[in-house]
């Protein structure tokens, strides 16, 4: 746990407000509690300076009134650092890390499509992973989005689950 503890201590020393909000629950893993966009943008360069030069992936989460975006950094030696950026659902604006990590393009597009994130600085390109005809304002990975209410034939989000689909789902649940 030496490397993990050193990294946690270095973060707390540089950012005292992280004290108690960054932890290493086990060997080779470090997690932070949710931080704001501004705080996140200050943590990223520091993580790079600590040797975390690769981002393995990004995880979107629905945290109730806010959305979470976990950027998982790797130091190449097996230690993963998950920086948890948070933004309110009503205004989910974050800054793209693709200028520094171009391999994150699809990960961030996924945050746009599935969570409705407003990722500033994401280069133009085809959407991912939802199809072109997907209705605007529908973010399937948000908890309140109910797949039973999505009518696949009309590609619309219904006020109530379509009757046939509801019956089919009920049968599925019974099984």
């Amino acid at each position: 746990m030496e490397r993990e503890n050193e990294v946690v201590a270095a973060f707390v020393a540089a950012f005292p407000w992280l004290d108690g909000r960054i932890r290493s629950p086990r060997k080779k893993r470090i997690f932070t509690d949710p931080v704001t966009r501004e705080e996140f943008n200050r943590l990223v360069p520091f993580a790079l300076g600590q040797g975390f030069r690769r981002v393995t992936h990004v995880v979107g989460t629905d945290d109730g009134d806010s959305l979470g975006f976990l950027y998982v950094f790797s130091d190449g030696g097996g230690v993963l650092l998950a920086l948890h950026e948070s933004a309110p659902k009503s205004n989910p604006v974050i800054d793209s890390l693709t200028p520094r990590f171009p391999g994150l393009e699809w990960h961030e597009r996924e945050l746009v499509d599935l969570y409705g994130a407003d990722v500033r600085g994401l280069p133009p390109g085809p959407r991912y992973p939802l199809p072109d005809g997907w209705p605007a304002g529908n973010y399937p990975m948000r908890k309140e989005w109910d797949p039973k209410r999505f009518n696949r034939k009309t590609m619309t989000y219904e006020a109530e689950p379509p009757a046939a689909a509801a019956g089919s789902e009920a049968k599925h649940e019974e099984r």
Binding site: P25, R26, K28, R29, F31, R53, R54, V55, T56, H57, V59, G60, T61, D62, L70, V72, G76, G77, G78, L80, A82, F101, P102, G103, L104, E105, W106, H107, G125, P126, R127, Y128, P129, L130, P131, P140, M141, K143, P147
Partner: protein, 404 residues
Amino acid sequence: MKNDKLVTIPIGPEHPALDEPASFTVTLDGEKVVDVVVGVGYNHRGLEKACESRTYAQDLFLVERVCGICSHTHSTAYCQGLEELAGVEISRRAKYIRVLVSELERLHSHLLWLGVAGHEIGFDTLFMCTWRDRERVLDVLAEAGGNRVNYGVNAIGGVRRDIDPELETRIRSMTDVLEKEIDYYLELAMTDSVLAARFKGVGVLPRADAEKFGVVGPVARADGIADDVRVVEPYAAYDELKVNQVTDDHCDVFGRTIVRIKELQESLRVIRACLDGMPEGPLKVNVPRRIPKGEVISRTEAPRGENIQYIRSNGTDIPDRIRVRAPSEANWHGMKRMMQGAYLADVPIIVAANDPCYSCTDRAVVVRGAGGRRAMDWEELRAYGVEWYRGRGADISRVEEKLK
């Protein structure tokens, strides 16, 4: 500025050179690729959303079906993540069995890839030979798990299937046969002038770009990046069954081929070591149905590279969030760089050399049978296959006799 010399052509999403749906919008200057826009997402079926409305036990079946080729690596990452959240330590025997199946899976996946690579350059003899050998592995996997691809070996808390002495004998016999074949494939790759002409200097990804795009697995290791999770962060029984990491510095399709063939040799060694040292013990320990609140990042080394799962639990028997980051998802952006400056004719082998799994990228496969359902045993299924092909003018039974 518009350049009249440039031509843009769409390849895919359905195309004879591609086995799964993906679109490549290729801009050409003569025969050379200037730029490419890659489009995937055609296989997206909302697996992660589906997991959030099902129990952990049900999700095991969903997660295993992220991919038809490397199903075991996904279920391993999932199970060990849950076991960590629950604070459960599984038996050493279960860990050894997980490693054994994992290496068998790597064997069949890399053999499949070698065949596809041969096919893409018109070397169909190589395709036939490697897929014949892959069948030997699939036969063993079918016996171990009851299925050729989704073996269902993993359980939350251990494994569902044991390795009995009879199966152990079969596995050892299979490894003996494969060892000779794989040694031959390596010799072929190192000496055959046709393979060298089609693989060397093709699909080059300089190391700096490999690091920039964050590629993983054999693609990264062919650039000299030692990122094998089995070594960097040993899981299951890899702390006891040490893996000798294979790297290369060709940075091209040739290097990726060499890495995969040498990894086949290494897998055979690990399989034998696993059988030699298989400890006694229970297959499974109990894991509570409700997983304590927490979050975990679980990693495994899939045949295509680093496979990661993020699991967040909320204290119930249903996960709050599961995110699957399969290795193919990490390798697509590097592929764009590999194609720039290449000949159009080399695009299929460059794509194939990444061994991309479209289903892994999009995280789900839906398989629906055409017509009615029918259960067949192994022999019946084989006979059905032979009859099906005979009806189309190909008598496979005669080929089998010739191979004996």
